[in-house]
Amino acid sequence: MIQLLLPYLGIGLLLLAALCLWARQSFVTRAGRAELLTPRQHRLGLGRTAPHRDLGERIFGPEDWDFISHDTPSEIQRMFQRERTVLAISWLRRTRKRVSQVMRAHVAGAQQSKDLHLATEIRLAVSYFLFLILCNSLIGWVWLHGPVRTRKIVGQILQWAAQLRGAFEQLMARVDPASCRVTGTNFNHETARN
């Protein structure tokens, strides 16, 4: 009998969550509108992402850690890891903030656009939420294990994912060769081998 209730409870809770989120957003509307304007005012600045990217590569890169781990005492190594963790989390948060600002500027513009495409909007929203999940997961991983280990772990996971995908493609090729010709075009065999 309780199963019959679940859809109604689910819909009720969904509405309650949306209302709470919207009410919370309403309290920070002024700040939100200010943030919306920022990317437009600094539109040119958005394209300049190269130094930011270099910084990320440097933070997560193995070079500094290789240098520190060879010739320094363990105390210095621990200090390096602590500071690098703080730096990595700060870099990830800054990236997340910048992307969120761009997304807010997008939705502010899109809501007034008459030729808005529903499918494109859904794709962008999914892509944005995936980015947020990835970013927040990485912040969690870095906080728990530090940037150097996170890099290794995520690299390993990506490798497993590629291997799994390769195995799945091979299985599909045996089950349904016709559809494999379509899906096979997107498959990166090089990644799977690595």
Partner: protein, 253 residues
């Protein structure tokens, strides 16, 4: 005793909101919302009279009029939709698609019910019918509120209050009616107070939010280049994919 006190407070607050709407000249600004409120107030008064003068007819009269109140509630949703998305044609377009999908799903469900049951009736009990009506309202409200939140649509205090108050009431109604339709649960007196208390909370929200007329803020005028949707989408896509490649560090991570 408690139900009597609750009834008096609810009716007094309802009358207060209606009187205030006359003073603040809000009746003409949100006609559908005030039509709903007037209908509910009128029904409350008639119910009270029947409860005292013809108590035997009260239960049947209550459920029939509850169905009427739930149906008039759709006018509030239309009011919210009309005012909130007036200056956002893009979001309004998505809302129209969503409303059509929900409407289509409801029609399909009704047809499926009609075909599957040999002796079809709109609902087994009035409570179940009201629950279904409120659930569709909850879905419609969820769609509109989600759009308002996602697109950061700026709206005035009046409409914000109407949406929050009605949303909260619908949410409480759907859940309490769902529990109320469980066998044996209807006999428990506590669940019967959930809806009136939620309605009282909504009335308090409305009396604060509808104190004076607060129109929706005007949308900021955008330059033509900002309104070029394809340009906007390409810009956002570019930034998103670049950011995603940052996190993967071009697959090196």
């Amino acid at each position: 005793m408690f139900s009597q006190i609750l009834w008096w407070i609810v009716s007094a607050t309802e009358a207060f909101v209606l009187v205030r709407s006359g003073k603040a000249k809000l009746y003409g600004k949100y006609p559908a919302f005030y039509l709903y409120l007037s209908t509910v107030f009128f029904l409350e008064v008639v119910r009270f009279s029947i409860f005292h003068f013809r108590p035997i007819s009260y239960p049947a009269f209550y459920w029939y009029t509850e169905f009427l109140a739930a149906s008039v509630g759709y006018a509030v949703i239309l009011e919210i939709y009309k005012h909130a998305l007036k200056s956002s044609p893009g979001a309004a377009r998505i809302a129209r698609t969503f409303l059509l999908v929900v409407l289509g799903a409801v029609i399909l469900k009704v047809m499926a019910n009609a075909l599957s049951s040999p002796v079809w009736s709109p609902a087994t009990t009035s409570a179940e019918l009201e629950r279904s009506l409120r659930t569709v309202q909850a879905l419609l409200l969820f769609g509109i509120v989600a759009l308002l939140a996602y697109y950061w649509v700026p709206i005035g205090r009046n409409l914000k209050g109407i949406t929050l108050g009605y949303g909260f009431y619908i949410c409480a109604s759907v859940m309490s009616l769902a529990f109320g339709s469980l066998p044996g649960y209807g006999l428990r007196p506590a669940w019967r107070f959930v809806q009136p208390i939620a309605y009282l909370v909504a009335l308090f929200i409305w009396s604060l939010a509808l104190w004076s007329y607060q129109p929706n803020p005007e949308a900021e005028t955008e330059s033509q280049i900002e309104l070029d949707y394809r340009f906007l989408v390409n810009k956002t896509k570019r930034v998103l994919s670049r950011a995603q490649s940052f996190l993967k560090l071009d697959g090196e991570l």
